[in-house]
Amino acid sequence: MTLAARWLLSLLLLWQGAALAAPQVTQAWIRLLPGDLPLAGYMTLRNPESQSHTLVAVSSPQFKRIEIHRSLAQSGMARMQALPRLELKAHAQVRFSPGGYHLMLFGRTRPLRRGQTVELLLQFDDGYQLSVPFEVRAATAR
């Protein structure tokens, strides 16, 4: 192996390492409701890095508008709170799950079917972007 090749390889490894360390998403799914009702998207967002990241926007050509929300049941009334941004602290994990944090997806541009996958683009304040496949599940999914 030439020196140049060695350099290239270590650079590649470094780049890959950096990519691995950035925020990751698992268990991403959308609860399908009929018509054009707003939908909720759920996921687990993990930050393996020692620096924090802030989720500032989520977008997809499939929806007109996507907001970050949190359900509140604290005053005995089921309500929602829209969050302009969500900080993901170092080595932290935020679960978007039923009854808590969720993405609120407004206005479908195309009809959705159960079982299909929708790509959502997560944008962070430092310019980092993550395209995440969300699985469309039945209304009765849990």
């Binding site: 005995g76 039945a138 009765t140």
Partner: protein
């Protein structure tokens, strides 16, 4: 110390004539709320009343279809628990009462109810009918301001009211109750009344 004795005695005396230990795991509300009675319409715009559900265990929940998280989560949970009943599920009705009739037209209600399976009946009514029902079961709801798209949030009670096969209000379930408790109590409500033996 002495001053505490009298109120304490009063408390004991009055608590004594209260409810005995409940057989149920959810909160027992027997004798607290009136029997099932409602005047609403369903997804086919047919008038529905409490009598339509005679012989059924009824789980009643207040919400609205434009609620993406809490309402579908609650309905998915109730439908999931009821499915576990097997054949007995046919004797349970889950009533989703939309307090947002302006957006929840019969067509929307119908599609919404169907998405959660055969045991869910989505209902709504005029503000007067809904107000009367909410007052009857002592729940509150309210509307938030509309955004630029004319969308608005609706705050609503998060409780599930459970009625027995004779329409009597019996139990109250909340999000913190487990599926297992919910299932066990519905099964108990469905069980035939124990026959007195000698």
């Amino acid at each position: 110390m002495k001053r505490l004795v009298w109120p304490l005695l009063l408390v004991l005396a009055l608590a004594g004539c209260g409810d005995s230990a409940s057989l149920y795991r959810l909160r027992d509300i027997s004798a607290l709320l009136p029997p099932l009675a409602l005047r609403l319409h369903d997804g086919d715009n047919r008038p529905r009343s409490g009598a339509d559900f005679a012989g059924q265990v009824v789980l009643m929940y207040f919400g609205y279809t434009h609620c993406p998280d809490i309402c579908p989560t609650t309905l998915a949970r109730l439908a999931g628990v009821v499915r576990q009943l097997g054949a007995a599920a046919a004797r349970v009705s889950i009533l989703f009462v939309s307090v947002d009739p302006a957006r929840d037209t019969p067509a929307v209600l119908r599609a919404y109810g169907e998405a959660f399976g055969p045991r869910v009946v989505a209902l709504s009514g005029s503000q007067r009918q809904l107000g009367a029902l909410a007052k009857r079961y002592r729940v509150s709801y309210g509307f938030g301001p509309a955004d630029s798209d004319g969308q608005y949030e609706v705050s609503h009670s998060s409780a599930v009211f459970i009625f027995d096969t004779r329409g009597r209000a019996r139990l109250l379930a909340t999000a913190s109750d487990s599926d297992a408790d919910l299932l066990a109590d519905i099964q108990r409500l469905l069980a035939p009344a124990p026959v007195a033996t000698r």
